[in-house]
Symmetry: C2
Subunit: 401 residues, 2 copies
Amino acid sequence: MKTNKTWNQHVVKRENKFLVLETIIHNSPISRADIATSTGLNKGTVSSLVNELLDEKLINESGPGKSSGGRRPVMLLFNQVAGYSIGVDLGVNYILGVLTDLKGNICAEQQVNFSNLTYEEILENVYTIIDSLIAAAPSTPFGIIGIGVGVPGVVNKDKRILLAPNLNWRNIDLKSTLEQRYRVPVTIENEANAGAYGEKNFGIGKEFNNIIYVSVGIGIGVGLILNGQLYRGNNGFSGEFGHMTIEVDGSKCSCGSEGCWELYASEKSLLLNAERLGLKHEDRNNLTLDTVIDLAHNGQIEAIQLFEVIGKYLGVGINNIINIFNPEQVIIGNRMAEAEKYLKKPMTDWIHNQSLWFSQKDLNINFSNLLKHSAALGVAAFSAEEFLYRTIYEDKVVSAL
Amino acid sequence: MKTNKTWNQHVVKRENKFLVLETIIHNSPISRADIATSTGLNKGTVSSLVNELLDEKLINESGPGKSSGGRRPVMLLFNQVAGYSIGVDLGVNYILGVLTDLKGNICAEQQVNFSNLTYEEILENVYTIIDSLIAAAPSTPFGIIGIGVGVPGVVNKDKRILLAPNLNWRNIDLKSTLEQRYRVPVTIENEANAGAYGEKNFGIGKEFNNIIYVSVGIGIGVGLILNGQLYRGNNGFSGEFGHMTIEVDGSKCSCGSEGCWELYASEKSLLLNAERLGLKHEDRNNLTLDTVIDLAHNGQIEAIQLFEVIGKYLGVGINNIINIFNPEQVIIGNRMAEAEKYLKKPMTDWIHNQSLWFSQKDLNINFSNLLKHSAALGVAAFSAEEFLYRTIYEDKVVSAL
DNA sequence: ATCGTTCGTCTAGTCGATGAACAAAGTTTG
DNA sequence: CAAACTTTGTTCATCGACTAGACGAACGAT
């Protein structure tokens, strides 16, 4: 990538320092000598950069490692507990908050479920969750290094929530609200983007660089990792795949268009179909995704067939995704991923039959393995990554992420 | 962008040298002093880099410029005639070759039309065209710096043509064939990718960084410029938008799937519909796109209505594109763009009615202004760009483009 | 003619990467 | 067990690219 920036030795140093840090993060424990060979940097250079990182408390020396026929190396570890990050997944009917160390390990977790709350009430719940996560954080050199929030809606480049239809939110500046209260950097991100980032960093997408993460919940959103980077579009609105037309002149969608994908393949559509069938759970009368899954588990054929329909339509949309992006990996995530057992076959059958043969080369189709944690971990990782940038670039350069 | 590479002073120098060259290319005539202020580099640094570029014949000094109250600056010009590039657009029923200078100005042009030729026959035509373009090139320091070919099919990362359905080609290594004959670097690229690159560099897309170029010919292909760079997908197969399903269980497509976009919005579909209607041109009996356009120009209502249908379906697909990519610009190119007059209104009407309001912010929908030249100019530009990289990076580093 | 301004070059200085030498701490071998 | 070899990590002199600032040249304005 051509960056239209001038290069000088200061940039070189920062870039190399970041490279050394990343090498330690992803390969710890690792010795100075190994860093030198794996990065191609000179031993002396690595030594001096490592010493700076030690001074900044970003890494630690652990005891000596195994000898390979000579002096034993001093192993270096990423100091993943130098600070803690908070990630909040703000769903349509739940809030999930996690406290993670800098490497994305979950140290504490809080969840509340609700329905039909006002913005103010939801905000109170968010405060409560964040407060208790902060209280749960050990005392560390850097403390809480940032808060990330994933929302089921459209977020613009200034991190303002333009529209969250299922929450009935419009034009909300949650970022400033939280920053004023907690005095730490806050980032707001679309839930699908966050989930994609979570899967890329901690989940099943670790090894891949062109990932399409399909978040199937009440609606459908898509997060795009292209060439290893999150693609957000011109204004931050990319991935509104839920409103991709798959049936011209199909049923009307609330978005104003017709035949949108999420009318056929989302949780909303599943529940609608279930209701139409008059499906009922033994001990409840209010249908939810979980109840339908229960029914399927109990072997009820209608419930299983409902999932098979959803699976086929997921296949239709994913087939489009494959033709468009030629991705390495497609990940199905969010709540619907829990029905993998019933969705997988009809979905992959459709894809194998319909997709162009060359597109199926090197293609992986997976269900999320982080399940409900994808988005929360993703936003927490955004904060952690930005914190490392800030620390290395010392002068308040905001990450160009 | 994080490149997992080490940085040292050599990289810094090359990068700055390339930056200076780009500044001259895009702002010539420009003085050394202006380059310094606009790049942020020191005057001395610029001076020494400029002198190297002069030695390498990549730039020229022209006479003194206007004084702004002091010594008159020496103006620098990009030596756009240091070498010439050849771009070939290999269509389904035509070959268009252009000879361009390094800035993309067309110096010579050759076209032949044909139908139903074998690979060998087409190859002969390509040779003839390239030979005559080479003969037309003035003698220059670097001569012909490369040949680019755009093809209507799927090209993998090794530049092998895996499949060109409308030419009935499979697994063809045109790159090696041409390189052996002409002994210059050859690049093969999908026609839509090439067109996108052409429009981004020379056409209506100059000012934009997130461009979706929709090439509407016999089939439909799409070239993606995301964050200023061509996105090719994991294996180079991205942009097979023609086979995006827009109608589940719609008509069968040759690709094996159903309801593909290009069944509704391409030249192929236009001609099919025209035939069904029994449309006939005065003096010909074989229908082509041009004849239908002629009929529309003559006010024949059925022909105009045919275009309106195509326009609507173009709108359907482009609406999907907008929801998916949140682009800055969508460009409709290739042969169908010539019918802009009849397509535009039904297309934009559909889009304005169906697209989410926030997606339409900062969105430009344009028809190509390079018309049939987009792809040929694009591939020529690939070669030119790679030549500059090679020259600056001297040791045979292949462009990471 | 003189003064102030701008352009481009030149020189000394700074900073970071590099390579080589070296000390420290191991292992292997006879 | 001692000698020889290996590997690790530090130190130091050197190199190369950028920078700041001085300087002369060229030009406009007074």
